[in-house]
């Protein structure tokens, strides 16, 4: 009997039920898409902020800052005294937070002569394919980290041992164009190398008067085979907090528990610490300009999204419960009739609640899929990648629908209990 009545209510009032299903679906899809975007926005924005390039700088431990600063003193030759072994570079991808290392590139600079004028030549990896001992294969290099460089010409590759990327200012000074050849004289060995201009780039910084070549060429020029001078690393990090700041001062000041938490969180200081662990002869410096700002922007974006999500949750909740209330109130005549026929309050309440829940469930399921769709649209248009639908959202949204629909029917149920069948059946 109960089932029959329920079915009849649902099928007879098709139009009204459809409207409620639609509203619930819209509300749920809003909640689902906002929750999905909110949970993923941190990762996505973090990825975007990689446009600012490296946030860690690896230098040899003993590198004396005095010689770095006064590199011009020594007959115009930059001669850093300490180096890092090129073989050690793969270890960067073998730390605990290896997956958070987005990119890295080594640099070796040497001052050589072009037409008897000293020019800074920097050897680096452009987009090198690396095989890590753990079995992973990655592509890493400078090009991905310098997103703000404006580069003309075909993409520079690491196997190109005759090509060079030349800074705009220098190219103008030397009057060279893409495809032109030029000769460099190595300072120590007096070796002569002929290179072709493969690209001309504009960086807006001092790099504009430098030449970038494949690492082996710079090593040959500097007579430092298998060595690099410094490494830039771009890592995805968690915004710093009090614990990270304390650890950055002195990791030994932490208690055992704090130390575990710090080590297993992708703070910039813990990544730096882990890099120093695997490469004992280096010092890892966090570039504060990038690291600190990243944290600030990430937190702001996340907070904004959380607040917007709460707002849309509240709105969809209000809209749904509002509609449910409206729907139940208008059916007072029907309820009055049921009561007049001898239905108990609890039976009528049961009927209403079951009906609302069924409608809510149908709307919720439809809404969930629409919401996931909306989240994907946002993910693709804004970030160009999918937004992973989180499983956690399903029970969250389910609970929300259950709670809201029940809450929405409370005023109606209260009214129903005090409803006198005679009043209602009489009309107005």
């Amino acid at each position: 009997m109960f089932g029959k009545m329920l079915l009849r209510v649902l099928t007879r009032q098709k139009k009204k039920s459809l409207l409620i299903v639609l509203t619930v679906a819209l509300g749920v899809s809003l909640a689902t898409s906002m929750l999905n975007v909110m949970f993923d926005v941190g990762d996505k924005v973090n990825q975007e902020l990689k446009a600012y390039g490296a946030n860690l700088n690896i230098v040899p431990k003993g590198a004396s800052f005095v010689s770095d600063m006064y590199q011009i003193d020594d007959n115009n030759q930059a001669t850093p005294s300490q180096f890092i072994q090129e073989d050690e570079l793969v270890k960067i991808k073998m730390i605990f937070w290896a997956y958070n290392i987005v990119d890295f590139a080594p640099y070796l600079s040497v001052t050589a002569n072009i037409d008897d004028k000293p020019v800074k030549i920097v050897g680096t990896w452009f987009d090198k394919h690396l095989i890590i001992p753990t079995g992973d294969e990655i592509d890493t290099g400078m090009l991905a980290m310098k997103s703000w460089w404006q580069i003309d010409g075909s993409k520079m590759v690491d196997d190109n041992l005759h090509g060079a990327m030349m800074g705009e200012t220098l190219a103008k000074k030397l009057n060279l164009k893409i495809g032109d050849e030029f000769t460099i004289v190595a300072p120590k060995t007096q070796q002569i190398i002929t290179l072709t201009v493969n690209n001309i780039f504009h960086s807006g910084g001092i790099e504009d008067s430098e030449i970038y070549v494949s690492l082996p060429i710079a090593q040959k020029l500097a007579d430092k085979v298998g060595l690099v001078e410094r490494i830039e690393v771009s890592a995805l990090t968690t915004p710093e907090n009090e614990l990270a700041r304390r650890a950055a001062q002195d990791p030994n000041s932490l208690s055992r528990n704090e130390w575990d938490v710090w080590y297993c969180t992708a703070y910039i200081s813990s990544i730096a610490y882990q890099l120093e662990e695997v490469m004992p002869s280096v010092r890892v410096k966090a570039i504060m300009q990038v690291a600190e700002s990243e944290g600030a922007i990430l937190q702001k974006t996340q907070l904004l999204m959380i607040l917007l999500t709460i707002l849309s949750l509240v709105c969809s909740a209000l809209a749904i419960s509002n509609l449910v209330t409206a729907n139940v109130i208008e059916r007072s005549a029907e309820i009055g009739l049921l009561k007049a026929l001898g239905a108990s309050n609890s039976a009528v309440a049961m009927l209403i609640i079951c009906e609302i829940l069924i409608i809510g469930f149908i709307g919720g399921v439809i809404g969930y899929f629409i919401g996931v769709g909306f989240a994907q649209i946002i993910g693709y248009t804004v970030f160009g990648s999918t937004i992973e639908p989180k499983i956690l959202i399903i029970p969250l949204v389910g609970l929300m629908v259950l709670f809201i629909t029940l809450l929405g029917s409370v005023p109606a149920l209260r009214m129903m209990i005090f409803l006198k069948p005679i009043d209602v059946l009489h009309g107005r």
Partner: protein, 380 residues
């Protein structure tokens, strides 16, 4: 008997009133929610890219001034005149730098004179242990200097060098702070700009000036062109690393906000419309009765139009207030500053919510008036 009858009449009247009131409340709540979202989201959309732009200034200076041609320094009076071209609301900070090669216990260092108050604005990312020098005999050293010379806060450091007039000086300074940036600043020693001027015996000159301006790339480029034209002794440079990345990331964040806003708006508006429709659909009987009593279709439509206009107006007004409140709360929580909102958004919100309610009301009304009154009154 009479008494009982009267009681019954008042009772039915009252219950009808109450029922009617709850329906109006439902409709009003629906439109108010819609208007709140509309007003709040549009206001946020309008203001947040600007506020985010300010947040991006934590990446530091986006323009630097360098002396043009063969000059070693720029006159600070010229710099002040040049920076006055920027509206003060966009000017976050202007920091002058002056460098001097010095020695301390025979080790060479670079002494940098700067304005620490401006540093906190142009380079908020500097990690400082201790504090900025406030007195003339105080200095702040880079972390590399501290590690190299085994110095810490509270230690003293003798510094010797030469002024522009080639007079030797040799003074003792007290270390009050250690700075860590991960870049070249780590190997410098910092002192008050005025102190360095007195050591150099030269006033109002700087080698580099860092500017942090809260403006999009195009405006910055315009500004640079203007400075180049009017101040030939200043060579302004855009720091591409900062501006390019900012444009890129800020663009993404703004489009995220726009998309989220449009999704929220569309869904809320449909929600409002469905609520209004439900409220109207249930009044089909009333429409049928009116028609049966001889009312014209137009007259019924007019009645509903007036009612929905009224609801839309009141709902829009309430919604605007709540929307402003909510935009203000978000702005305060996230950016710590008040929201800037446009007054014309209030009539705009009211207009839109009136439009939505009218459309949502008239659609079911139109359907209802076309049906034979007898059918409606019978039930189905």
């Amino acid at each position: 008997m009479l008494n009982k009858n009267r009681l019954f009449i008042t009772k039915t009247l009252l219950s009808s009133l109450i029922r009617r009131r709850s329906r109006i409340l439902v409709a009003l709540l629906g439109t108010a929610i819609g208007a709140t979202v509309l007003f709040g989201m549009v206001t946020l959309c309008y203001d947040i890219p600007r506020q985010m732009g300010k947040a991006f200034r934590s990446y530091g200076a986006n323009i630097i001034f360098m002396p043009a041609g063969s000059h070693a320094t720029i006159d600070l009076n010229l710099v002040n005149a040049a920076t006055d071209l920027i509206p003060s609301t966009q000017r976050i900070g202007v920091t002058p730098f002056r460098y001097l090669a010095v020695r301390s216990n025979v080790v060479p260092y670079t002494l940098v004179g700067t304005d620490f108050q401006q540093i906190t604005k142009t380079s908020p990312y500097w990690l400082i242990e201790g504090q900025f020098p406030s007195q003339d005999n105080e200095i702040m050293i880079g972390i590399d200097v501290a590690n190299y010379a085994h110095l810490s806060i509270g230690d003293i450091m003798p510094i010797a060098g030469k002024s522009r007039q080639n007079d030797n000086f040799d003074q003792i300074f007290k270390i009050v702070g250690i700075v860590k940036t991960g870049k070249t600043e780590d190997s410098f020693i910092f002192v008050n700009f005025t102190k360095l001027e007195s050591l150099l015996q030269e006033q109002n000159q700087a080698e580099v000036i860092e500017l942090s301006i809260s403006a999009p790339k195009e405006e910055l480029q315009n500004y640079i062109a203007k400075v180049k034209l009017n101040f030939p002794s200043i060579e302004p440079h855009l720091i591409k690393w900062v501006t390019q990345s900012e444009t890129q990331v800020l663009g993404k964040l703004s489009s995220l906000l726009y998309l989220v806003t449009s999704v929220v708006l569309i869904l809320t508006m449909i929600c409002v419309a469905t609520t209004m429709m439900t409220v109207v659909i249930e009044r089909r009987k009333e429409i049928g009765l009116k028609k049966a009593l001889g009312a014209e279709n137009r007259r019924i439509a007019k009645e509903f139009l007036a009612e929905s206009l009224f609801l839309g107006f009141i709902g829009g007004l309430i919604g605007s207030l709540f929307g402003l409140l909510f935009a203000q709360v978000i702005s305060r929580e996230v950016f710590g500053s008040s929201i800037v909102f446009e007054f014309y958004l209030i009539p705009f919100t009211i207009l839109i919510s009136m439009l939505v309610t009218v459309v949502a009301c008239l659609m079911p009304v139109k359907q209802a008036v076309e049906v034979e009154p007898a059918l409606v009154l019978r039930g189905e």
